[in-house]
Amino acid sequence: MLQAWPKRIGRWLAILLLGGCFGFPLYWTLTMAFKPEDEWNPPGKVFWWPGHWTVSNFTNILGIQGETSIFATGRSKSALTPIEHSLIAAGLGTLLALAVGVFAAYGIARFRAGGRMLPFQILQLRMFPPIAIIIPLLFMWVYLGLWDTLQGLIILYAAVTFPFVVWLMRSFFQEVPREVSEAAIVDGCTQWGAFFKAVLPQAKGGLAATALFVFILNWSDFLIALVMTQDHAKTAPVYLQSLQSGASGQEYGNQAALAMILIMPPAIFGLAIQRYLVRGLTFGAIKR
């Protein structure tokens, strides 16, 4: 017992120190979102804690009219449209990736479709720097009229996250015993019926986790939207960045408010599927 004390204190000190380092950036942003403008970045002074709490940053950035709203007068565009774009592109991109990827995953898991190498070819897709793939796609998108449209963004998001769907769903389908589909077929189902009525319900949890995981990936994208959109389909992360380079000086508080809004969906979904995060980010190689 006596020996255990220094050890315990040491562990707690280490956790506190690391926790401080990892927690501070988020703490700073969270409090920044509630600071009034004169506390954002006053020269030679620092507000570790908001002196006067305010929600005007949120009302500003969302374009809600208020007495201090600079966006209502100075800027016609609030963050609402970009957020809407992000929701549509990430949501529909996820659905499309699922629609294509779930079938491929089942084919690979159940029938070894495409041979042993197909899954690894799909994995290699993830290794290429996205910008290297985006350059030729940029020609194509401009040529096809898909550049700066939500449709174009949805297709790209689906293509980029499709490997994750295949690898994740493959690992989930492998957990469903082969007997499930065989029994369904004996009971008179077609292969498709067996898939939809017997196998898919068994992998329901995995499907939900995959959907949320892929949504997080799409929602987090910055590079694709930066290159592939301009005005009509700008997503929220790109909008956040455009505020940074704005001529009107720094808008830390407003940006922090938007940042907190952007963090919310991934944080909630991520904690909800915490069990599957490792599996997702390691392409199903580690199943815990």
Partner: protein, 345 residues
């Protein structure tokens, strides 16, 4: 459990044509299942790759008057490739990216392992604290870029905090404007964001280590270092390898934090490969040259990828105390189940 009797013949003769009423044969079904995926890959990989190879042999830019299809007017064979291989800017970004990858993945691994060891034993608030340490991983990368942009300002909280803690005068470190410091600031963002993933992967590996052996070693008087060196490390090897590879792949693609923090600057101080390509395309509008560079990168990554894929492939097949498992293990399980089921009847 009446299904068992009807199920058995199917298992004994899996090759026999299944009595599918109106369904299609397995071969046709499996081809149909992966067809949309293959189509998407063709659309997103094969066609663009062809375009990139074509454009890479030319000096074409969108401002040159011709459209993409007329790019052959600017044909110059491998000149773009030679230019890239001889250009200092290209190699600078390659070495910078490799440096960032090695440093970031190394630090993330060490910090992640330390955290995982700290969280191995049960203590009060462990679950909640684990969630707390996972948070940075969920932050949208554009947001984490913005956060550190705020923190690293010359009169920002990092300098102000250091001024308060350290003795001496006011500290004015130019985290983002100093060419030799900027890359370390960019690395900080990556380390902050992705150490949690290392932590999570390694913790899940540590938790699954066989407790009996660990206790045995402890009772036999093995020091912590020896337990670590001869027990934990060898057993964790597959997982560590996967974690390192996955992070290395992702870090090699680093763009967001460099672009958001410094825009690749000052000068080319934080110009990673991705930022280099971005600048060539968007700022210099040298599409032909950028395509050539992209092809070089793709070849390089494919070659490296052939090595990187193997451990992941192995992990899918290896059985490590049920921790890492793939098809083979599931198949083996299935065989066991099958034998057990048959023995019952």
């Amino acid at each position: 459990m009446e299904a068992h009797t009807t199920e058995l013949p199917v298992r004994q003769a899996p090759k026999r044509r299944l009595p599918d009423l109106g369904g299609r044969s397995e071969g046709a079904v499996s081809r149909l299942l992966i067809a949309p995926g293959q189509l998407l890959m063709l659309f997103i990989v094969a066609f663009p790759a062809a375009v990139a190879i074509y454009i890479g042999f030319t000096e074409w830019t969108p401002t040159s008057g011709d459209n993409v299809w007329g790019a052959y007017h600017y044909w110059h064979w491998f000149d773009g490739y030679w230019e890239a291989l001889r250009s200092g800017g290209f190699w600078h970004s390659v070495w910078l990216t490799l440096l960032i990858t090695v440093v970031c993945v190394g630090v993330e691994f060490l910090l992640g392992f330390l955290l995982a060891l700290l969280f191995l034993k049960e203590f009060r608030g462990r679950g909640l604290l684990t969630l707390f340490f996972l948070l940075p991983m969920m932050v949208v990368p554009a947001v984490s870029g913005f956060i550190f942009f705020m923190l690293f300002q010359v009169d920002g909280p990092v300098n102000q905090g250091l001024t308060a803690i350290l003795p001496g005068g006011v500290i004015h470190v130019h985290w983002l404007d100093d060419p030799s410091l900027a890359k370390w600031s960019v690395m900080t963002v990556d380390i902050w964001q992705w150490t949690p993933l290392m932590f999570l992967i390694l913790l899940s590996g540590l938790v699954a280590l066989p407790e009996d052996q660990m206790n045995q070693a402890r009772i036999l008087g093995a020091s912590f270092w020896h337990q670590f060196r001869y027990l934990i490390l060898p057993m964790m090897k597959p997982i560590i390898l996967i974690a390192l590879i996955i992070r290395a792949i992702e870090t090699f693609k680093l763009f967001d934090s460099a672009f958001l923090l410094t825009g690749g600057g000052p000068g080319d101080a934080t110009q990673t490969i991705s930022v280099y390509l971005y600048r060539q395309v968007i700022i210099n509008a040298r599409w032909g040259y950028a395509s050539a560079v992209a092809i070089i990168i793709l070849i390089f990554v494919s070659a490296a990828g052939a090595f990187a894929v193997r451990p992941i492939e192995q992990a899918q097949e290896e059985t490590l105390e049920g921790l890492v498992g793939g098809e083979e293990q599931v198949a083996a399980q299935r065989v066991e189940e099958a034998i057990a089921a048959e023995a019952r009847i």
